[in-house]
Amino acid sequence: MFSNGPLTQQDKTRALNMSLSLLLILWGFSSVQWNSNLIHAGGAHTADQLIKALLHPALNKEILTRAFKAVGITLSYALTGMSLSLLFAFILGLIASGVLFENNRFKLLVKGTRHLLLFMRSIHELVWAWLFVAAFGLHPLSAILALAIPYGGTLGRIFSNMLQDVPKAPTNALSLVGASPLQKLFYVYLPYAIPNMVSYAMYRFECAVRASTVMSFVGLGGLGYEIQLSLNDLEYTEAFTYLYALILLILCIELWSNKLRLSPSLKLHKHWSIQRISIFGAALATALAWLYIHITEGVHLTDLFNEKNLKYTFKFLSGLLGVGDQTPAFLSWQAWHKALVLSLETLQMSILAILFAGLLALFFALPGSKYKMNQNSQGRRGKLNFLLYYLLRGVFIFSRAIPELVWAMMFVFLFKPGPLPGILALGVHNFGILGKLCAEVVENMDQAPLEALKTSGASAPQTLFYGILPLTLPKFITYILYRWEVIIRTSIIVGFVGAGGLGQAFKLSMSWFKYSEITLYLICYLVLIGGVDKFSNMLRKNI
C-alpha cells in the first residue's frame, strides 16, 4: 500500500482520497452537540430496565403464542414479497442484460430498464411502505409491493450481471448453428445463470425477513409491529421476547443458507440433497404464504383498484406533485434550505455511523475469527481465545439480527431524539454485519505468505503488520465502503423514530399530509444516495 521513491499518480490519488475522507469524518463530528444534554433524563433507569429485560424476557404462554403468530406473519410477508420480487427481477433483469436483443433498436429499452432497476433499489423498502400505505391504505399488498420493488431492483441488477457473465464461446457457437436469441436464452444463458440466481435468491431471503420485520412498523402486523407496540407500552420484557424470536428466526435461516452455500449437494435423505429440499421447501412455503395472507387478510388484487382506493391514490399522487398546494415545498426557497440542512445532517450521521461500525469491526475481526483461535489453542490463553471467539460471534449475530430501526427505537429511550441515537443504531447494526464479513476475510486469507513470514522468524505483531493487515485491509475497506452505501439508504429509516436527519422530517410531513414536502425530501434522498455511491466508487477504485 505504501511505496517509497517518487510519487506515482496512484499515490497522489490515494493521498487525496485519504485526506478527503479524513476531512469528511472530522466534519461528521460536528453533527452532534457534544455535551451532557445528550442523555435522556431517565436514560440510566431505562437502560437498567432494558438490560434486565434482555436477561429475563417474558415467557408466558400468551406472549409466546403471539410471538409465534408474529413470526408466521413476518415470514409470510417475506416469502410473498420475495416471490413477487423474483418475478420483477427475472423479467426486468432479462431485459436489462440485453442478451435478448441483438440489434441496436432496443438500446433505449435496455438502458431505460437499467435505470428503472436503479430507481427501484435506491429507495428503501420502508420508504416504499410509507408511500404505498399513504396511497393504498393499510393493505397487505402495500407491504408485499414495498418489499418486492426494492428487492426486485437489487436482484434484477444481479440477475442481469449473471446473464451477461455467461461464457461467450457457447453463445457464439449456437449463433453459428443458426439459433435465435430466444433459443440461445434457453440453451445457453438460463442453464448457466439459473443455479446462480437460485442460490443468490436464497441468500437474500435472510435480508427479506429482516426487511419484512421492519416494514410492519408502518402498522402492518408481524414481529416489528409487536416490538414497536411493546416498546411504546414500555413492556420491555415482551419486546425482548419478540426480539429473541427474530434473532432465532434469522439464525435458523443463516445456518441453513450456510449449509446450502458450502455443500449444496449434501444428501439429507436418499434422493434429497439439501439444495433440492431448499428449492422445493421454498416453493411450498411461498405457496402457503400467499394462501395464508389470502385467507387471513382477504387479499384480492382487485382491492387495490376499487373506486375508493383509486381516489385516495390519485389524491396522494397529486399531493406529491403539489397540486392544490399554494406554494409546493419544492418551489419554496425556505423549504429547500431546510431540506439541504437535513440532507447534510443525514450525510454526517452516515459518516459517523460507518466510522463507528468500521473501527469496531476492524478491532474485533481478528479475535472474532477462527484464525486466532487455531493459532493459540493450548493453555489458558487458548481457552481465553476460544471464549472470546464465541462471545464475539454471538455479539455479531445479536447486533445484526436486530434491525437498525429497532435499535433506534431503543436508543431514543436512552438518548434525546436527534442524530446521536440514529448514529448508534446504524453503527451497532452494521458493526454486526461488518464484524462477520471481516472475520470471514481473515479466515479466508492466503496462508502461504503468513507461513513464510513465520519461518523467517517474524513475531506475532510483526506478522500482523507485514502479513495479515496488508492481506486483509483492502477487502475490509471495500466492505466498509459498501456498507456506507447501505447506511446512507437506511439513514432515512432511523429518522422515522426521531433519530434525526431527513427521516424525522419525512415522518412529520407524512403525519401532517404535507405531501409536496415528501417529494422534496425524496429528491434530496435520491441525490444523496447517488452522491455517496459515486464517491465510494471513486475511493474503492483506488484502494
Binding site: P170, L176, V177, Q183, Y187, P191
Partner: protein, 250 residues
C-alpha cells in the same frame, strides 16, 4: 466433370484497428476437399476461419459459398451451408450432453419445439447415432461439464454431425489435447466429413497431422496466403520459410 467451387474468396481483407489480420486474400476450395491451414500464431488463420463461418464480415471483397454471396443467406441457410468446431469451450457446461448434441438442430427447430426438447428430447435417435459415431454413446444423459476435455470435443463433433453443414470448419480443434487424443479426434473428423461428402477446412498446429490426414495444405503468414500445395508436395524448405522469424530481435 468440373468440380464445384464450394468456397470462393475474392480480394478479402480484414483489419482490426491498425492490424491487418488478412490482406487481399483470394482462395478457391472445391467440394469434398480436405484443407489444412497452417502457419505461425497470429498469422490470420482464425480470422480466415471466422470469415468463412460467417461469424465476422470482411472489410472488403466477396465471399461466395456454393455460388451465393454469404451476406445474402439467412441464418438458417447459412447454418445448413457451414458449421464450425473450435476447442471444447463451445459447449454449454450445465446442460446434459444430449441437449448439447441436439442443439445442432436449433437452426431448423422453432422455439416451442426447442423448449419442449429440453424437457423431453426430440430426435433422441439422432443424438444417439451421433454420439455412437464419435464413440461416447454411454454419455448421453451426463452433465457436459463433468466430461473430460477429449470427451467434450467428441460432443462438439456430435453436434456438428447433427447440424450436418455442407462445409465443416475446424479452428485449432485439438490444441488443448495430448498428441494421441488429438490424432484420434482429427481422424474422426476426417472420416465423418468424408462419409458425409462434406468439405473440410481445419487450422492446425501440428504439421504431422496436417500431412497425415489432409490432401491440401495452405500456409498463412502475416495475414496472407504464402503457400498452397498438395500435402504430398510439402517440403522442409516450405516449412522453414513459413515459420521463420522475420525479426528475431523482437
Amino acid at each position: 466433370m468440373i468440380p464445384t467451387r464450394t468456397i470462393q474468396l475474392d480480394n478479402i481483407s480484414k483489419s482490426y484497428g491498425d492490424t491487418h489480420a488478412l490482406t487481399s486474400t483470394n482462395l478457391i476450395i472445391h467440394k469434398g476437399e480436405r484443407v489444412a491451414l497452417i502457419g505461425p500464431s497470429g498469422a490470420g488463420k482464425s480470422t480466415l476461419l471466422s470469415i468463412l463461418s460467417g461469424a465476422i464480415q470482411s472489410d472488403t471483397g466477396l465471399y461466395s459459398l456454393n455460388n451465393e454471396n454469404i451476406l445474402s443467406l439467412s441464418t438458417k441457410q447459412r447454418a445448413e451451408s457451414v458449421g464450425i468446431i473450435r476447442q471444447q469451450f463451445d459447449l454449454v457446461g450445465p446442460l446434459k450432453v444430449v441437449h448439447n448434441v441436439l442443439s445442432g438442430h436449433l437452426g431448423r427447430w422453432g422455439l416451442i419445439k426447442s423448449l419442449l426438447s429440453l424437457i423431453h428430447p426430440f430426435a433422441l435417435n439422432d443424438a444417439r447415432e451421433a454420439l455412437a459415431r464419435v464413440g461416447i454413446e454411454n454419455k448421453l444423459f451426463e452433465l457436459t461439464s463433468n466430461l473430460s476435455g477429449g470427451e467434450q470435443q467428441r460432443v462438439a463433433l456430435a453436434r456438428l454431425f447433427v447440424q450436418h453443414p455442407k462445409v465443416v470448419l475446424a479452428d485449432e480443434p485439438v490444441a488443448s489435447l495430448d498428441p494421441a487424443r488429438a490424432d484420434q479426434i482429427i481422424k474422426l473428423l476426417v472420416e465423418l466429413t468424408h462419409e458425409g461428402e462434406q468439405t473440410l477446412v481445419a487450422s492446425l498446429h501440428s504439421i504431422e497431422l496436417a500431412k497425415k490426414y489432409f490432401s491440401r495444405i495452405i500456409g498463412i503468414k502475416d495475414g496472407a496466403i504464402c503457400l498452397d500445395k498438395p500435402s504430398v508436395q510439402l517440403s522442409e524448405k516450405d516449412l522453414q520459410l513459413l515459420y521463420r522469424l522475420e525479426h528475431p530481435h523482437v
